[in-house]
């Protein structure tokens, strides 16, 4: 599964790691300063007003105790007022907190996608879509959840503790001292708990990614699964993954229960001390019990938020594990510069000059040299796995050559901005991918041209008759991955898409393998007729197709050999 993980994750072990989700979130919350302040203010107000309630109740009790009933209506009014203010503040807190967290998620997702689509080809060879998908959905969601809770719960809880401290100090400095003693214990427990949880959460997030991977693979490969009658095997495979997920979640809860529940217990110990010691002092000094009741009520109000701190640790560790996974996309570099630029590209010959290309140890192209001029129709053939696709993938710079140069119109392709290069080269790959959407959208694929041109492209690709035979013609919806079309129909739509761009170079990588010979002849005739200034590079294994080429090159042992132009018995027959 996902590679390159340990490197970027290993670094973050410092104590300040707790702040990591906050630091990570900062760039995505640049313009949220105002909502930030509102939410924090709302958090303080909401708690403060709520904390006042016990004070008021204490007042009421004292008033009743001493028989001063006249102050009761005033206190009642104050209580209602405090609750109303608290309600308004809570609204701002919840809404504002959600606003911030959603803004954060929005920006993060945007950033995620923009990095993702710019990653180099090699990156996608090492990743699986299901895992990438989990990163883009639930990993981001996990960090958002932490952010939300940070605003709506963590900050308020911290304020609550501070405010409680102040109030207690006013009621009795002694009580506040007891609280001050509890705080370091709480922090210690928190740190230990999060340390222990961290590695498990990483496993959980990775397993979650694997779940997505297994599911996605199963859905996409459903026909193979059924064809090989391996449904049961698949069900078992998935069940093993969900079992692992179950186990890891149970593992983390075992750590969390002990530490997290010790936190409220600490608060309870302090509260009991207050009742005991404070009560004793009241008892001998014959002081009013109002203060004691208020202090204990304040503490009782603290236990819930403090146990929530424990849950925050869960969210935080989950979020940190997720951040690691997200950063493998957003901060790992290796993006292509595909931004549009105003440079233009002059037509000219395509020249491969002693190009070498290897994948790791495996040398795919040893030494390739050839030249193609505008208007030329070049055929490339060679055995399965000889490196034909690799060769053409170098032209659009999906991969870079190890040594040697590839130039187009006298310019080294390395010096041409990718957006320019790729917009002037069209490729019909061996494996066609169509998106769900209409046929028109798929032919256009981001272009904006007249209907006439779309139809012309479809005619060249010999697919216009078929499209016209459909009730909704160009507006016909096709399923995901073009699932509702036949193999040959998909290939021809891809050809139309490539032709529409009127490219300097048109690359057909076995683009007619599912097309019948008769239709194939039509397509090649059309290409020859309409694409007179284009360099056409066709990879094919079929003699019938290669016979259209002006020149057929044979790729063998990593080298291109030229032979007699398109002649029977030439390169074609050698393979």
């Amino acid at each position: 599964m996902a590679v390159e993980s340990s490197g970027s994750r290993g670094k973050r072990v410092s104590l300040l790691g707790v702040l990591e989700p906050v630091l990570f979130a900062r760039p995505y919350l640049k313009k949220s300063g105002l909502s930030f302040s509102i939410v924090i203010a709302a958090g303080i107000i909401s708690n403060f007003t709520l904390l006042l309630v016990p004070v008021f109740i204490g007042d009421a009790v004292s008033a009743v105790e001493y028989g001063i009933y006249s102050s009761i209506p005033r206190i009642a009014l104050l209580i209602v007022l405090a609750y109303s203010i608290s309600a308004a503040a809570t609204f701002s807190l919840n809404y504002g907190g959600q606003y911030i967290s959603q803004t954060y998620a929005y920006n993060l997702r945007k950033d995620f996608v923009s990095h993702l689509v710019r990653k180099r080809f090699l990156f996608f060879e090492t990743q699986t879509s299901g895992d990438l998908l989990s990163r883009g959905s639930m990993d981001i969601e996990a960090t958002r959840n932490f952010n939300l809770n940070m605003f709506t719960s963590l900050f308020p809880t911290v304020f609550l503790i501070i405010e409680a401290f102040i109030l207690l100090f006013i009621i009795s400095p002694f009580f506040s001292l007891l609280l001050a003693l509890a705080v370091p214990v709480l922090i210690f427990l928190g740190i230990v708990s999060s340390r222990r949880q961290r590695p498990i959460w990483r496993k959980i997030r990775d397993t979650y990614g694997k779940l997505g991977e297994t599911l996605q693979e199963n859905i996409v490969g459903q026909r193979v699964v059924r064809g090989l009658a391996s449904e049961e095997k698949e069900v078992d495979k998935y069940a093993a993954m969900t079992k692992q997920y179950y186990d890891e979640n149970y593992e983390v809860v075992k750590v969390r229960v002990t530490f997290n529940n010790l936190m409220p217990l600490t608060v309870a110990a302090v509260t009991s001390a207050i009742i005991g010691i404070g009560g004793y002092l009241d008892l001998i000094s014959k002081a009013s019990v109002g203060g004691l009741v208020a202090a204990v009520t304040i503490f009782a109000m603290l236990t819930n938020p403090v146990s929530f701190l424990g849950r925050m640790i869960v969210f935080s560790e989950n979020s940190r594990a997720a951040i690691g996974r997200i950063q493998e996309i957003t901060a790992s570099g290796g993006e292509e510069d595909v931004e549009p630029s105003d440079q233009s590209l002059q037509p000219g010959p395509l020249v491969f000059d002693h190009v070498k290309f290897s994948r790791g140890e495996n040398v795919i192209l040893r030494d390739v040299t050839f030249r193609a001029h505008p208007g030329e129709f070049i055929g490339i053939t060679g055995k399965t796995g000889a490196g034909k696709s690799s060769l053409v993938n170098l032209i659009t710079r999906y991969y870079d050559a190890d040594t040697g140069t590839i130039s187009l119109g006298q310019k080294n392709t390395k010096d041409i901005p990718l957006s320019i290069l790729r917009s002037r080269i069209s490729i019909v790959p061996q494996e066609i991918t169509l998106l769900s959407g209409t046929i028109r959208e798929n032919i256009l694929f981001g272009m904006d041209v007249s209907d006439e041109r779309i139809k012309e492209a479809a005619r060249i690709a010999s697919i216009s008759d078929f499209i016209d035979s459909l009730p909704q013609k160009y507006e016909t919806m096709i399923g995901e991955r073009g699932i509702t079309l036949s193999g040959g129909q998909r290939q021809r739509i891809a050809i139309a898409r490539a032709v529409l761009r009127n490219p300097l170079i048109l690359i057909l990588d076995d683009a007619t393998s599912s097309v019948d010979p008769d239709t194939e002849i039509n397509i090649f005739n059309n290409l020859k007729e309409y694409m007179k200034n284009t360099i056409i590079i066709m990879i094919s294994l079929r003699a019938s197709a290669l016979s259209f080429a002006d020149k057929v090159l044979l790729l063998e042992e990593g080298e291109l050999r030229e032979d007699l132009p398109g002649e029977e018995g030439g390169n074609v027959n050698r393979i």
């Binding site: 109740i57 009421a60 009790v61 105790e65 209580i79 209602v80 609750y83 309600a87 809570t90 609204f91 919840n94 959603q102 929005y106 997702r109 996608v113 996608f124 060879e125 879509s129 990438l132 959905s137 969601e141 979650y208 996605q216 693979e217 459903q222 059924r226 064809g227 090989l228 095997k233 069900v235 179950y246 979640n249 149970y250 809860v253 217990l265 509260t271 009991s272 001390a273 009742i275 005991g276 008892l283 009741v293 204990v296 595909v338 495996n362 399965t384 999906y398 917009s423 790959p429 991918t433 009730p471 036949s486 193999g487 898409r497 393998s513 599912s514 019948d516 010979p517 008769d518 393979i575």
Partner: protein
Amino acid sequence: MSTGYDAIEDQFLKPEKGRRTILRMVKDILYWRRDSAVFTTSVVITAIAGVLYPLALGLAVNSILSRNVGSLTIYSVLFFLIYFVQFFSNRTMSLSSTKVAQGVIKRMRDRAFYNLQKVPLEFFSKVKAGYLISRIENDSESISDFLTYQLPQVISGVTTIIIAAGIMFYLDTTLALYSLLVMPILGLFTLVIQTKVRANYLRTRRAIAAITGNLAETIAAIRTVKAFNAESQIEDRFKLLNSENFDANMKATRLSSSYSSAIRVIEAVGIVLVIYEGSIALLNGQISLGILVSFIAYVQQFFNPIVQLSQLYNTYQNSMVGASRIYSIIDSSPEKDSGNVDIQKFTTSIVGRGMRVTYDGSVALDRVTVEIDKGECVAIVGRTGAGKTTLTNVILKFKYPDEGDIAIDLKALNTIDTKAYRKLIVPVLQEPFLFNGSIFDNIEYSKKGITKDEVQSFINNYGMSEIFRTLPNGLDSPVGEMGRNLSEGQRQAVSILRAFVRNPDIIIMDEATAQIDSKSEKNIITAMRNYAKNGTLILISHRFSLITLSDRIIVLEKGNIVQEGKLEVLANREGVFKDLYKRSVSAYVHVTGGS
């Protein structure tokens, strides 16, 4: 765009009524009988302990007032003990709630996955992969969140409310009635906004599914996106869904936050009513100060869970919407007509009569009648889109004809046990999909227990060693996701091998050698010739060289069989076949001299 898709999705994944979802959810929770019993018990203990503190506090206050040091000590220790009990009950509660929550979603996911293996294949051409993944993966997380963190609060909340109310009534009935006065308002309020809350959450779940779906498609098409330099268009499309998601969430929050705030105000009214009535009662000497203090504490104890529950109400609705979306996958109707007649061997023939196959009303096969005999090698040819793959889909039991029937050895296909049938017949599909893993893993996937040596001898026998020659790690080479790290021809070769190692009675090859070079293809063909002596072969190909291998050719055109016969016959007859293979036919006729 997304709304149109939602309608299609609703046809296949029927949304369920809210009430039924709850009942099923309860059933799913109770499935984990032991865990949910432990869970409920520990929650109730926690809650009971929780309602006891005010009592201990009130008693402590009374002992201060009565200047009794002994009882003060007892009650403050009691106070701590209550928390101590809670420590253990909370621990057990978290453990068991996690077990229940994870158990419930594990079962949900497993069942949804299981059912995906049973739905008609058509389902996958309509419902998008990313949307399904979002339901099974993401939506179930919302359920686990609810069950792990919120359900304990709900149960303890309800318990607390009941106990607190009981104690309140015990302490003073009139006061208790006063504090309950606001309850009907609250209930009514909740009821009124319920439908809206649900609709809001449905929207948010759909929005995140749309994001996942879009992401899934983008990743699947990433190579094409790059080829056509469409990165920024993709981003724009994503931005739209991203903001829809933002809006949906903010809308849901607006309502749910207002709701929680309104409840606070209602709570304040409740407390004030008690203080008012309480002080009057105290004045009249009906209650003691200690009772009033604990009573006020109970009122707060009573309202706290109500406020909490009101906040949980939103998460609850969210997870119920999530649950209903998974249930709809579990419920989506499995393939019909999967019979249970066993079949061990292919003995005579496959016969299809008057088969008509349509996709969404458009005809792909129009009353086709075919017969394929045991031991035969039949080639199916025709223009692209003629219906060749569709015909094999029918034979493979991937799709059922709307009209007509198809039978193997006189047993109707729809009465035959699919699993047994698929042991007889193995397809090599037009799209060579491989699983992530090594080449060997993929072959072993098809035939359990096969050894590397056996695979290697298959490769040698079928003359495929040339194809894998360029792979430094041979059979152990990783193929990458969907086999993308192999060359296309290598992928096809693996998928052919995967079928051959099963040694099935019937093999269907749908353009399975289209990307394999002619020399290797010839090797494979020759080996297959030997194989075809006792096996049955159905070949779809555009390559003449492959067609020459066949005993009989079936020519399809626009969903009809227009020609049928031996190569010698068709090559010399005017018609679709001759049109398709002009050059090759003339070369062939030239060599064989016609007949």
